[in-house]
């Protein structure tokens, strides 16, 4: 199970946990098999990612790196290292913020939707 970004969801994937809107409203129950319509509903409610069965964090990471040119990724990392220089990246929160921002930047630079 792993959180899969809405852009990468496919009909037939099965939810590992309930999907809720930001205000806590229940949208879809765990174990539901996704259809195109469900994915549209997620978009309408501003859901960005959902927890899907049978996909690991590693799969998502691999999928992402396959989509992005490694040169762009390295450039993004280099630039962000500079602006993160006063932070402590041994803190789990900062490590995760750095990682997410690098991916976001790389996606931006390679013209992908965020």
């Amino acid at each position: 199970m792993a959180n899969v970004h809405i852009d990468y969801l496919k009909p037939g994937m099965v939810l590992n946990s309930d999907v809720r809107a930001i205000n806590g409203r229940l949208l879809l129950l765990a174990e539901t098999e996704l259809t195109e319509k469900h994915i549209c509903i997620f978009k309408a409610w501003g859901i960005t990612e959902v927890d899907v069965k049978g996909v690991t964090e590693k799969d998502v990471e691999t999928f992402f790196t396959e989509q992005v040119d490694p040169v762009i990724l390295i450039e993004a990392e280099k630039e962000l290292k500079e602006i993160f220089r006063h932070t402590n990246r041994d803190q789990p929160a900062m490590r995760e913020l750095f990682r997410s921002c690098t991916q976001r930047k790389a996606r931006h630079e390679s013209g992908q939707i965020v």
């Binding site: 930001i22 006063h86 803190q91 921002c101």
Partner: protein, 292 residues
């Protein structure tokens, strides 16, 4: 030396004296504040005060109708908006939209106005998203505090452009954090100035503390969690590079403040996504001008 001549003459309180526009909040906000403190006032009275400002009315309606609030039918009048959102949220949204007009007076040489305002909005959005994750009541308070968090820097740029420029240059040369250079040169930083300003405006203590201690979250005595949220939201806004108030670097995270907000690092990437989603739309909705 030139440096000492510039630095000596200031205390944080001096910066907000003598300028009517800065030392008092915008008129509509003032009227609204008075009205909300008066127990015999009606929703209609409040709507009338807001309707006196057309630009504000249009922006408030756009905000009330934004998908973030998620109401099924269209809110068409201010009195509907007041009834549905509640007076507190209307008060906070009014503050956010009126204060933004102050941004128009920034000296261009020091900072790009658009960039300053993008940074403020992204911090406000990040704070509101974190507050929503925490299931806080009245998330707009966080949006307001976030958009106001660097207002002290706005005052500094307007009131002491020479010293501000000098501080910006020094930070750029040394690679030191801007607020640390401010402290070194003046004995206080932009957060202190912002805190004093909002205290003068008689804003709720929660917003004042969130702004005053956003670089020093453990000093917030009354609203430690709220202040920690702004501290983290500012860090996220910097990391997203959506704009800047002058600072180039991501400020360091206070570990205790992070623990206080009780969110898991794993939701950081969804926070970024939500801020990205809301950013363009919020900018469009709050834009002053043609579309009103």
């Amino acid at each position: 030396m030139n440096r000492d001549r510039l630095s000596k003459s200031y205390k944080p309180g001096d910066l907000i004296k003598g300028d009517v526009k800065v030392s008092s909040p915008p008129t509509v906000f003032f009227l609204l504040n008075e009205a909300l403190n008066n127990p015999s006032i009606s929703v209609l009275d409040i709507a009338n005060i807001i309707s006196g400002d057309q630009g504000l009315t249009a922006r408030l309606l756009r905000l009330a109708n934004s998908p973030f609030h998620g109401f099924p039918s269209k809110i068409e009048t201010i009195s509907q908006a007041v009834l549905i959102l509640g007076t507190q949220q209307i008060h906070d949204l009014t503050l956010a939209t009126t204060v933004l007009s102050l941004f128009e007076k920034l000296p261009k040489e020091l900072v790009n106005i658009e960039s300053f305002w993008y940074h403020s909005i992204s911090c406000g959005l990040a704070a509101r998203v974190i507050a929503a994750y925490r299931r806080e009541p009245n998330v707009e308070r966080f949006f307001v505090a976030g958009t106001l968090h660097d207002i002290g820097r706005l005052i500094m740029y307007m009131k002491m452009p020479e010293l501000s420029l000098d501080i910006l240059v020094q930070s750029k040369k040394s690679g030191e954090l801007l607020y640390k250079v401010e402290r070194e040169r003046m004995g206080f930083d932009h957060a202190d100035v912002g805190g004093i300003l909002l205290e003068n405006w008689k804003l709720p203590l929660s917003i004042e503390e969130m702004v005053r201690f956003h670089h020093n979250p453990l000093r917030a005595m009354h609203f430690p969690i709220e202040t920690a949220v702004i501290h983290v939201a500012d860090i996220i806004a910097h990391a997203m590079q959506l704009g800047t108030s002058g600072e180039r670097f991501v400020p360091p995270l206070d570990a205790t403040a992070w623990e206080r907000i009780e969110i898991s690092p794993s939701i950081i990437s969804s926070i970024l996504k939500r801020v990205d989603q809301q950013f363009t739309e919020t900018i469009r909705m709050l834009q002053v001008g043609e579309n009103d």
